[in-house]
Symmetry: C2
Subunit: 547 residues, 2 copies
């Protein structure tokens, strides 16, 4: 039997931009045809972007999606792609709407200018960051089709993560290649779990599997691409790039005879994956929200240095505006380190001392202690927001996950901003990423962006004389372990203490976490990289008597 | 047959406060016994408060809940309540946990110091403000029990709002009285829909029904109590008070022979219901988060006047700190109206002119237009947050639903605060509530709190000379209609235009709604009173190309 050539189009759609996404799909389908493919596979909800959240509850939006799909089918035919089969993820009306959800998360087969079949996702994830049981109605039936003498089946993402449902029918349907449309967000170490899952599926259902994933940033999620194919034995055949669009082409003759056509990619190393995820998350948030440039405060510290470096990688140095905002408590190195960062990266640097404004406010308000400390952070926010409003820059807020967890920040002060590039990066990892980025630069023969002093000096908010973070917090090495056990592993104080941490310390950390929930609720979004990020993934009451 | 006396304990628990809630349950059970009741019924998750959100994912929390229930059973027995049956809502471990959800939303029967039965909620609401399919595993079986020769069944809240499930077994089980444990949040006009639903249930399943609801504020939700009993014909027998704790006692001899024992209440009139909901939401947020006092800016406008008046009703005038913060653009009446409000209500008033701080910032930053306008609002935020940090007041932010919808506010400026008392109140309703509150005062022979001028003058942010809201927005009467159609009824631009509104105006309003999503995400929570409030009830992407 002659081989069937299949292309996986790993694309980066924009949520809600139906015409832009349609054009992109058509474009990739043309490239697929040029590469000789008879079938081209797009990711989950490729037509509308993913996740669409409550847009799925709008009749108008679902109608527009279905109309765009029809238009796409016609346009593909007119472009000479009529003989190809396009498998495209889109949201459409559900057959059995409820009183709330009216749509389904679907895949359509497009061929000869027509929609020749469709599939509705059966398992709707409603945990972690997902609310799909809220917005979609589940489908029930497997979709299979034949092409060039081979049999294909189509399922969507979560369908392969849960047992039962249409996936259980694959074996009985004698499917050669199962096409899985995915919107699977990046998460540290997830590459391996996806592969293991798909390998089990291949073996259990007796099918080769093509797993195509979205790529790109959408609010707090980063889709890493990383699409791949395994044969019936679970052997990897070809893999697409991470964190960029790609067209991944292969020939299949049988479940066990599959050959790569396009170039395969290797997964990146762990720190590089995280760095790229953060860069892509930031880049796409800026672009998809119509910004061109960002502004951020540069304190000379590690957090703002890493954020600035990410921004330069994402947007280019000429679109990154860094502002040094010294106070009477700022150390000399806070300015020299900020200036060195600017010099290393080429970002556009300016300085705005805050002393006059602080004096003016202090002259009128009778503040001391924490209230006076917070005032300084809020004057800095005033400056950054002024520059943002005046010049159209997006403000980046530079807090890390450890700070966010314990509320070690000034609300309406350093927490101000539209996007928080490292909000899901614990402090220990911030340092590791800084070192990693500098090493990459050294290897490439470029200037390491982050000043050595920003990496090595003791972290401080510099809101009072001689202050360091460790006046208020345990060492970050300890704090980060406690937080990881509590946040990501959901352990209680007693469970954490039983692992050898000081009980009083654990109690105090967990109390800080609880008491800063209200601040987190008002915080900017930022890219998720861990298996449990703050935000929609951790929904805790603010009014909460549980300790 | 002798009548069975049943008490419905409409209580206000605090989420997570197991010992406080247990003590309250025991206290109400004692009162029930004193009134001669043999059965006392508590609302949904009475033991832990409701909703518990992701606390339900914590093993530690579920263990503590189960232990608290056992302790409660013992304590009730020791207090001489051993012969009573207590029906108590609590979260416990599910029989069939998933890889994510491990708990169930349960009701326990407590009698003779033991837990003699339990029920797990079957229909888990996962729409509107609810995420229960995320955090609970559904139960499958009806719980029935006999007491004094009569048969009772227990179900929980959503079980009666959906068809199928255990409720469908009530008729076959020949139940005399169905006990429904509820956590049903207040919503304008919901009183009627609950009654209609319970009446249908009574008729369809051939049972009398006792519907007991929580009361109190929990973050953005306000539970209104309003518990009631109907007989098999659907006739109302007794009703508990709204917006306060109550013990509602009745005698049942048969499905059709039920008599009130305690005093029945009448539902409040619509505007009074809303006012009481807002007062209770604010009062409980303050108390349950450990605050004693609030601070807010008083502009002389209607929004801050209504918020201040709500705060005075909730906390007493001596716990409400109002700050007039005039600028060079403030009208004379902005101060006179603020002062009059303070005088009318007795709140603690002070003034902090912003001009010096604005001048200091403007002298350093080169701002004009919107950036300069926003600066003024942010200086005011700086003052309020300074007073909050210095004195421990909770800051109230006074924006209304119309402003929030179209982004007519300064982020990190007038949006600053921990709680937003009127965030779900559209501008037209703000005026109506102000008039209502003044009328109530007049009827009671008290000074109407809200200055007449605040109600009648044209609304203005006063951030530039002669500014009014209608420079940027359509008349609120029109705007509020468009917003209601778009937000609460989910209509599209074309659907709204087809109702006779100007197409360009509708498009511009809907664009403002979309573009201010990022601001709303960072906004304070506030009490929900409509059938679709901003916040967890409307989950829209920020990066969103759909228009």
């Amino acid at each position: 039997m002659p081989a069937v050539r299949v292309a996986m189009a790993q694309i980066n759609p924009t949520v809600g931009d139906l015409s832009g996404n349609s054009a992109k799909i058509l474009d990739f389908a043309k490239h697929a045809q040029e590469s000789g493919a008879q079938i081209v596979l797009f990711p989950e909800l490729a037509l509308t972007g993913y996740p669409i959240e409550d847009l799925a509850l709008s009749r108008d939006f679902l109608s527009a999606s279905e109309a765009a799909l029809e238009d796409l089918a016609k346009a593909a035919d007119e472009a000479g792609l009529g003989k190809m089969t396009l498998v495209v993820g889109y949201p459409g009306f559900a057959e059995n709407p409820t009183s709330w959800a009216i749509g389904a998360n679907k895949a359509a087969l497009i061929t000869g200018g027509k929609i020749s079949g469709n599939y509705a996702k059966h398992h709707l994830p409603n945990y972690s960051v997902f609310d799909e049981y809220r917005v979609f109605v589940p489908g029930r039936n497997l979709l299979t089709f034949e092409s060039n003498g081979m049999k294909f089946a189509t399922v969507i993402c979560e369908d392969i993560w849960q047992s039962g449902g249409p996936v259980a029918q694959i074996s009985a349907s004698k499917v050669d290649l199962t096409l899985v449309l995915n919107g699977s967000p990046f998460e540290t170490s997830k590459t391996d779990s996806r592969l293991e899952l798909v390998q089990s599926l291949a073996k259990a259902q007796g099918t080769a599997v093509a797993y195509v994933n979205l790529v790109g940033g959408q609010d707090d999620l980063v889709f890493d691409g990383n699409s791949f194919v395994v044969d019936i034995s679970g052997k990897g055949i070809i893999r697409a790039r991470q964190f960029s669009e790609d067209l991944c082409v292969f020939d299949i003759e049988s479940q066990s005879k599959i050959a790569p056509v396009s170039k395969t990619a290797e997964p990146l190393k762990p720190h590089q994956q995280i760095w790229e995820a953060l860069v892509l998350g930031l880049k796409d948030y800026v672009a998809k929200n119509g910004f061109k440039s960002v502004v951020l405060g540069l304190s000379g510290g590690i957090d703002s240095a890493v954020c600035a470096s990410l921004a330069v990688d994402a947007l280019g140095a000429s679109n990154v505006f860094g502002v040094g905002m010294p106070s009477e408590y700022s150390s000399e190195h806070s300015l020299t380190d900020a200036r060195e960062l600017a010099q290393n990266t080429g970002l556009i640097y300016s300085e705005q001392p805050i002393e006059a404004m602080v004096d003016s406010a202090m002259g009128q308000l009778n503040l001391d202690g924490l209230a006076a400390e917070n005032l300084q952070a809020r004057i800095r926010a005033l400056i950054l927001m002024g520059l943002s409003n005046q010049n159209g820059h997006l403000v980046l807020t530079t807090g890390n996950k450890s700070e966010l967890a314990v509320g070690y920040s000034t609300i309406y002060g350093d927490s101000v901003g539209g996007f928080a590039p490292i909000k899901d990066v614990e402090k220990s990892l911030v340092w590791a990423l800084a070192k990693h980025r500098n090493e990459m630069a050294a290897i490439a023969g470029e200037t390491p962006p982050i000043p050595e002093s920003s990496i090595t000096k003791a972290p401080s908010a510099e809101l009072r004389p001689g202050q360091t973070d460790q006046d208020s917090l345990p060492d970050y090495a300890v704090l980060d372990q406690i937080l990881e056990l509590h946040i990501e592993q959901r352990l209680s104080a007693s469970e954490i203490t039983s692992k050898g941490f000081d009980g009083a310390l654990v109690d105090s950390v967990l109390k800080l976490v609880k008491n800063s929930e209200w601040k987190r609720r008002q915080g900017a979004i930022g890219p998720r990289i861990t298996k449990l990020a703050f935000g929609r993934e951790r929904r805790m009451p603010i009014s909460n008597g549980w300790s």
